[in-house]
């Protein structure tokens, strides 16, 4: 099993939101709408949206990083021209969201949302700052490990993925039920790798993380 279960009581919000019945398998409909998906045009996404450190009066506070990788399908083929959206807390662990009550400072030079289309080889690349860990109310003294939220489309609606990317060696992994909801070693797929080749001298640390989308039933057949 790659994905976490719906019901994972250590993550308290799953208890009233997890469906009680397993989803109905849909295996035998080659005409299903879900086997197709939206297509994105180059003109619909501004290339500047991939730089989360830009667009404000000044530079955001925090550790500047580059996050890059490829979007691949289940057989390892790159997925070009697909939409990748990210959002994250600032370096102090605060989201630019009105319902975030964490008493850490907002950064007037950082919103924390970006998007891009993958290139012909399925590559995406964002410039941002390393997000901070933040507390949440799931259990006493609960803290989320630093993470960047990712939303990826792929070529079929069946491949649609929303997930979170984590940073290597975070001491909060052992205590985070959202990270730990993914079974066993599979959860390591959520952790990016530091990469000196992505790192730019005198400017930004580089991290690499590939996103592998699930297969469609037609491909598995």
């Amino acid at each position: 099993m790659t994905h976490p279960p719906y019901l994972y009581p250590d993550y308290a919000s799953t208890v009233l939101r997890a469906p009680s019945r397993p989803p109905l398998p849909m295996k035998d409909d080659p005409e299903a709408a879900e086997l197709t998906g939206p297509v994105f045009g180059r003109g619909e996404v501004d290339p500047l949206d991939a730089d989360l450190t830009a667009g404000h009066a000044g530079e955001p506070l925090g550790e500047r990083i580059i996050v890059t990788g490829r979007v691949l399908d289940a057989s390892g083929r790159p997925v070009p021209d697909t939409l990748v959206e990210i959002w994250q807390a600032n370096s102090a662990g605060r989201y630019a969201h009105q319902r975030d009550r964490h008493p850490a400072p907002l950064d007037p030079n950082f919103t924390g949302a970006g998007r891009c289309l993958t290139d012909g080889e399925g590559r995406y690349r964002f410039v941002t700052i390393k997000p901070g860990a933040y507390p949440w109310r799931n259990h006493p003294n609960a803290w989320r490990p630093a993470h960047i939220h990712f939303s990826v489309f792929g070529t079929a609606f069946t491949q649609r993925l929303v997930t979170q990317m984590y940073f290597p060696g975070d001491p909060l992994f052992a205590f985070d039920p959202i990270f730990r909801s993914v079974p066993g070693p599979t959860r390591e797929r959520l952790v990016c790798a530091f990469d000196l080749d992505v790192t730019e001298p005198e400017w930004a640390l580089g991290y690499r993380w590939d996103v592998v989308l699930g297969g469609t039933p037609m491909e598995d057949a």
Binding site: T14, A18, S181
Partner: protein, 163 residues
């Protein structure tokens, strides 16, 4: 080596919504219908921080993110309001259903279902008992309007699908 899913969390609201994201078709577009409804949890309470995505299966004349161009597109997005409500305006596709994904805090992976705009002979509808079938049928709600609620858990739980 598929990448595992993680919850969309409570704070997607400043990132994923985009201008007129729920309007796949502009107001007054010929043939367009409105679908409204609520997302409810296992206690029957509204889910105020869900994100719904609809895909009609037909790309249409304008881009999935483009709300300035003429014509309709096949993809839309809507975050739920404080009362758990959402809405879409779209052109019904040739197929009798819309594909729907629901993301939320507390959902470690999305739930997916179909919104049937007509009770027609269909392999999926035909495979369900009457109670399950009813959860996939949008209710006509005035002219060119439908209602469709998503019940994540419990009584009247929506039939969810896995591909």
């Amino acid at each position: 080596m598929t990448t595992p899913s993680q919850t969309v969390g409570p704070f997607y609201g400043f990132a994923l919504p985009y201008a007129a994201d729920w309007e796949l078709a502009p107001e007054g577009h010929p043939g367009a219908v409105t679908i409204t409804g609520r997302v409810l949890d296992g206690a029957g309470d509204p889910v105020p921080d869900a994100l719904l995505e609809v895909w009609t299966g037909e790309a249409g004349a304008r881009g999935a993110l483009d709300r300035a161009g003429t014509g309709a597109c096949g993809f839309g997005r809507c975050g739920t309001a404080a009362d758990g409500s959402y809405r879409f305006r779209l052109v019904p596709p040739t197929r009798p259903y819309l594909a729907l994904l629901v993301f939320a805090r507390g959902l470690l992976k999305p739930v997916r279902t179909r919104v049937y705009l007509a009770d027609v002979p269909d392999p999926l509808l035909g495979s369900l008992d009457p109670a399950g079938r009813a959860t996939l049928l949008a209710r006509p709600d005035g002219q060119d309007a439908y209602r469709f609620d998503v019940r994540l858990q419990g009584e009247g739980e929506t039939v969810f699908l896995e591909f």
